[in-house]
């Protein structure tokens, strides 16, 4: 459209993928060569679940592009000393000088060999935003692939601030790197801190609004009344980090009070509930085939789990013979031993987890816990089916969602297990209306999680665990966070490093633990779209480490807290200036499951500002100048830019001996994309995508539900009993102990076949007391954080308009404290306070609210910037400064949680 006054206006289609809840399609209005307005892409209304709309973050892109504080030429550092208190002395240089400087370093690294004396890659790279930088970095992945091993393990939040337990256990149990309710079909949702109205993107917000309009009920269980709590039918203010107890209480009601109402056929045939557990805790197996045994009620004897027409017992004790295979080569033979099905073990295991028990731990009335369990079962519609594209599937419109801090750090395993198990108990896992996974990142192929359903001999899905057997275990870590060595579950995909214990990479730079290689700083560190200097924990320690990195290259928008330590700054073209084609649709992160899939183009809506260069140009030039052009182009041809350029029916491969232009790369990619989506019938290029913006084809909805693939493969979900994890844990323990390593012992304890509740709040309290020699009673508040839709992942605290609109949402701009508690402490709105944890202190203004527990403080994601222009003047508090990096607070998946105890004191004289 153009309204009457805009004769020279045009609208340019592009996408926003600033957060993992994207991508969303949009248009940008350009008047006289100036971008003036972001708008929904109305042409995409029918094919996107977001109705062609973008969220508030996309509107910050204009000020991001035109920000007068932008770095618009390459810069180099002139002050060799690095530190928070050091002026980097950046001076402009030419692109030639910048790129040649980097290329020289790269060549020097190549000459020395890719790994240093500790065995770690000499080159490291950190990207933020849950993988979203990929959708802005053009062909950089091809360049990275062409320069040898890279350490991606220096986290900027990934690993500790993501849905970490969910990523790992979710992938294990139902190919669910991220988990979501089937919001379009569900009727009842228990949401433990899942802040979908802030983190679920347009798609999540719209679908949940539709669900509310349908009359669906969502209960938000969270210490503060988040925006999601606000939009829920009920808010249950739970004590921080006790969610596992709450869920165990729910399990108790389901298993001990409502067992007859569970989905028995699902449990018998689609879970490992009937597998018999032998005396040492491993499955009892058939001596001939090694298959796990079940007890068939019809045949009145144990049979292999896959025996047809069996009627497996779920409960009871049976005298049965068989073999048991433990860790490494351990094996036992049992003769007429008393054994029980895993389900019976589960029943016994949960006997003590009554709502009364849980209620006391969670500071929630036990009646509420029992009522919610009953509501969950009431809404589950056990026995009903529905048809999806001609396929009959169970219909179970109940779902459970977990948020950050619930599903990372200690207790995350319990919560993920309990959540997935509750879904299984009523048959609501991966079925219409139930709890779904939406994407895979550790299993392959990443493009379709249904295709990753591969059988394991034990009857459930196979999983690419990192080996823990003597021969296969990676004793010497290959990257600094040792993900493959310590975390079997993190697998070995391109994403695995970033999901290792990323804080180990930082911590070890200070001091290596016993019997462990002393970590070295990388010779070269590339940084894009991330800011670990303020976004990770113990930011003081992080900045000390950053000061020691010898050569840091930052792709930079403006100065910021991490760029402050850079040696070279490279101005890339921002979201609205660069060119790239990406895949859209199908099933992606969070609630992005579409009825379509295809491709969308990001294109320059106006000419780039200053001398900012397209990422693909930068990558190509770096490859050319560092002598890896052929490898780089090969990688592009292979699909490192998102689409393989050669397929069965087409070949748009680029010549490997010359540097392709940016347009050539993306024209070939567009053609390959068109061909891929039409099986070679069409090959529209860049010009077509520039005009139309996107191209999609239908995506079958049945693929939303992994149940179909599981059923087709005759497989089971690997719940409730974690025999495989127990074995892996025992083996890992042996390997570590063989190397004299005992500092991972607490983590090894978590490899429980059935998780036992531990006093998680106390774990934090004790760890803080132990490590900092404090009396925890001096730190009476729990400090937590929450997603800011306006700020998250956009670097938006430095964008004036985003700051302005964020201030309309309560809690931005300070530290939220219960109004009554504040009054008790003599604190009023606007008072300047110091929030001190045993580690460090931060300052902020008091924001009183009723919607928060009196024992909890909330600092919404805003990070005490000290270098980023504009943001540094806002005086915002940051939880990151207060949260320590401690092995004690690292769980077996290598994650921690955004949580600490704090005290709060008025800064005298300030009002």
């Amino acid at each position: 459209m153009s309204s009457p006054a805009d004769g020279t206006a045009k609208k340019v289609p592009t996408y926003c993928y600033q957060c993992v809840a994207g991508p969303d399609l949009m248009t940008v209005k350009v008047v006289d060569g100036v971008a003036t307005e972001v708008e929904p892409n109305f042409a995409a209304a029918e094919v996107t679940p977001s109705a062609g709309k973008v969220c508030v973050k996309a509107f910050g892109l204009l000020q991001k592009m035109y920000n007068p504080n932008r770095i618009l030429t390459p810069m180099k550092r002139t002050n060799p000393r690095k530190g928070v208190d050091q002026d980097p002395g950046f001076v402009p240089i030419s692109w030639d000088e910048a790129l040649d400087t980097i290329a020289e370093r790269l060549e020097a690294v190549q000459a020395k060999g890719p790994n240093d004396d500790s065995g770690y890659p000499r080159i490291a790279a950190s990207f933020g935003g849950g993988g979203t930088p990929t959708y802005y970095m053009g062909t950089l992945p091809a360049f990275l692939a062409s320069i040898g091993p890279i350490d991606f393990g220096f986290g900027s939040g990934q690993g500790v601030k993501c849905y970490h337990s969910e990523h790992l256990y979710g992938e294990l149990w139902h190919r669910a790197f991220t988990v979501a309710p089937d919001t379009p079909n569900t009727e009842y949702m228990l949401s433990f801190g899942y802040n979908v109205e802030a983190s679920g993107g347009v798609c999540g917000v719209k679908r949940h609004a539709d669900a509310r309009a349908r009359g669906a009920k969502r209960v938000q269980i969270e210490p503060h009344l988040s925006v999601t709590g606000a939009c829920s039918a009920e808010w249950v203010p739970i004590r921080p980090k006790t969610d596992a107890a709450f869920m165990f209480g729910l399990l108790h009601v389901m298993l001990h009070e409502q067992r007859q109402r569970l989905d028995i056929p699902f449990l018998k045939h689609r879970t490992t509930s009937p597998y018999l557990v032998a005396p040492n805790g491993f499955f009892l197996r058939d001596p001939a085939t090694s298959k796990p045994l079940i007890y068939c009620l019809q045949r009145k004897r144990a049979v292999p789990f896959d025996t047809s027409d069996s009627d497996p017992a779920l409960e009871g004790t049976f005298k049965v013979s068989g073999i048991e295979i433990g860790a490494d080569d351990d094996a036992w033979e049992h003769r007429m031993e008393k054994v029980q099905p895993a389900f019976q073990k589960l029943i016994d295991h949960t006997a003590g987890y009554t709502p009364l028990w849980a209620g006391r731990i969670c500071d929630v009335p036990h009646k509420v816990i029992r009522r919610l369990a009953l509501e969950f079962i009431d809404h589950a519609r056990v026995g009903e089916t529905t048809e999806v594209e001609g396929r009959e599937l169970p219909y179970r419109p109940v779902a459970i969602a977990l948020g950050k801090t619930v599903n990372n750090g200690w207790g995350g395993f319990d919560c993920c297990w309990a959540r997935t198990l509750m879904a299984c108990l009523v048959g609501a896992l991966e079925v219409p209306g139930g709890t779904l996974g939406t994407t895979v990142r550790l299993n392959r192929p990443a493009t379709d999680r249904n295709l990753s359903v591969k059988p394991h001999p034990d009857g459930f899905m196979d999983y690419p665990m990192n080996p823990t057997d003597k021969a296969g275990w990676l004793a010497k870590p290959d990257v600094r966070n040792a993900n493959r060595t310590l975390i079997p579950l993190v697998a070995n995909s391109p994403w695995s490093q970033a999901l290792g214990p990323t804080h180990l990479a930082w911590m070890q730079q200070q001091q290596a633990p016993e019997h462990w290689p002393q970590a070295t700083p990388p010779d070269i560190w590339f940084v894009y779209r991330t800011n670990p200097a303020i976004s990770f924990w113990d930011t003081t320690q992080i900045t000390e480490v950053l000061s020691r990195f010898p050569f840091t290259v930052c792709f930079a928008l403006t100065n910021d807290e991490t760029n402050h330590f850079a040696d070279i700054l490279l101005p890339d073209r921002t979201d609205l200036e660069g060119l790239q084609l990406i895949r859209v649709g199908g099933t992606k992160f969070i609630e992005q499951f579409w009825d379509y899939q295809g491709f969308a183009l990001r294109q320059p809506v106006v000419e780039a500002q200053g001398d900012a260069r397209d990422f693909t140009w930068i990558a190509t030039e770096l490859a050319r100048r560092s002598g890896v052009l052929d490898k780089y182009v090969k990688a592009v041809n292979r699909g490192a830019a998102g689409v393989p350029l050669k397929g069965e029916h087409y070949d748009f491969s680029l010549a490997e001996d010359e540097a392709p232009s940016v347009e050539a790369v993306w024209d070939a990619t567009c053609r390959a994309a068109s061909a891929e989506i039409t099986d070679g019938a069409e090959d529209q290029g860049l010009d077509w995508y520039r005009e139309h913006g996107f191209r999609v084809a239908p995506f079958p909805r049945v693929k939303w539900y992994l149940y179909a693939a599981i059923e087709d493969a005759g497989l089971r979900f690997e719940l409730p009993y974690q025999e495989r994890l127990m074995r892996v844990g025992k083996q890992l323990g042996r390997r570590l102990h063989e190397h004299g390593i005992s500092w991972w012992d607490e983590q090894l304890e978590e490899y429980d076949p059935l998780p036992e509740y531990k006093n998680y709040p106390e774990m934090w309290e004790k760890a803080l007391e132990r490590n900092y020699r404090v009396d925890i009673r001096d730190y009476p508040f729990w400090a937590v954080t929450a997603r800011s839709m306006q700020y998250a992942w956009g670097g938006n605290a430095g964008i004036q308009m985003m700051r302005e609109v964020a201030e309309n949402v309560g809690g931005h701009g300070g530290v939220v404290i219960n109004a009554t508690k504040a009054a008790e402490l003599g604190l009023a709105d606007g008072d300047l306070v110091e929030i001190r944890s045993p580690l460090n202190a931060t300052r902020g203004r008091v924001v009183t609210r009723q919607g928060i527990r009196p024992d909890t403080l909330l600092m919404i994601g805003q990070f005490e910037h000290w270098a980023t222009p504009y943001a540094k003047d806002l005086e915002l508090p940051s939880l990151n400064k207060l949260v320590p990096m401690l092995i004690d607070l690292t769980d077996s998946t290598g994650s921690g949680a955004d949580l600490t105890r704090v005290q709060v004191n008025r800064v005298e004289g300030a009002r």
Binding site: R214, C231, A233, G810
Partner: protein, 290 residues
């Protein structure tokens, strides 16, 4: 930016506008009293010049602080419904007639100026009352208060002029008038505050509460006592009377300044119900800050 919907102090009308209510009220009150004085044979020129100066000065500085001062005459475009237009319409003839009255000292012109001044004062009072976004202003009982304080201020100023001029009869008359006006004003103030209870944001009420003691005490009790004492102590009559007048005047200015700049909290926001969310039910509404 306001988050929760509580009323906040309006910022559109700052002290420039407040001053116009101060000087406009005083000036028009003075013109009225001067007219009454002239009827009783007292000098007209001096109080009229002063009234003229006050009204004209107030209008001039508020004009200069318009967003678009050059379009000031557009203020005349809406006499049909706008009391600001009406004020502007009255202001022209008022200033002209008062000028002539001051120059020519014709009682008739003085009377006419006095009448126009009453109209002007009424317009000012109505301007506040029609500001429906500001609960402390839109209260109808503000009208008598603005009129009464205009009279007090006029009487007080006239008293000061008369004292300076050594006009004994005028001093006496003005003292009596001031006493009567003070009683009227405190009654109007009481009525205004009473009517406002529960009808204005808490902060606005608190601002008026803070104004209560100085206004009632220094603005009424003290002047009345001073006038009474002055009547009994001839030797100190002039300074005591002057002080009484000054206090009554300043109290009027003070309370109007407070009403415009301190009690000028806006309406804020309110909801009748909180919404049902999905299977939940709607809940109670809220009118934060009230």
């Amino acid at each position: 930016m306001n988050v929760g919907g509580k009323p906040w102090l309006q910022t559109h009308w700052d002290w420039h506008v407040a001053v116009n209510f101060l000087t406009g009220g005083s000036g028009s009150g003075l013109l009225l009293v001067a007219a009454l004085g002239a009827l009783a044979g007292q000098p007209l020129a001096a109080p009229t010049w002063l009234g003229l100066l006050l009204i004209g000065g107030g209008l001039a500085q508020v004009m200069l602080h318009l967003g678009r001062p050059l379009r000031g005459l557009n203020a005349l475009f809406n006499p049909r419904t706008s009391w600001m237009s009406r004020e502007a319409f009255v202001a022209g003839p008022l200033l002209l007639v008062a000028l002539l009255a001051a120059l020519l000292e014709w009682t008739l012109l003085g009377l006419l100026a006095g009448l126009l001044a009453v109209a002007f004062l009424y317009c000012q009072a109505r301007i506040l009352k029609e500001a429906r976004g500001i609960p402390a202003w839109r209260e109808p009982r503000l009208l008598p208060l603005i009129l009464a304080t205009g009279l007090v201020e006029g009487a007080a100023l006239y008293l000061l002029v008369a004292l300076l001029g050594g006009w004994h009869e005028a001093t006496l008359g003005a003292s009596v008038l001031l006493l009567v006006a003070l009683v009227t004003r405190i009654l109007a103030w009481r009525g205004y505050r009473k009517a406002l209870q529960g009808n204005a944001p808490n902060e606005a009420l608190r601002a008026l509460e803070r104004a209560e003691a100085p206004f009632a005490g220094a603005g009424h009790v003290a002047p009345v006592l001073l006038l009474v004492v002055a009547a009994g102590v001839p030797s100190a009559q002039a300074p005591l009377t002057a002080l009484a007048g000054l206090m009554a005047l300043l109290a009027g200015w003070g309370v109007k300044f407070a009403i415009v700049t301190r009690a000028g909290y806006n309406q804020g926001f309110a909801i009748m119900h909180t919404p049902a969310r999905g299977a939940g039910t709607g809940g109670l509404g809220s009118k934060p800050g009230w």
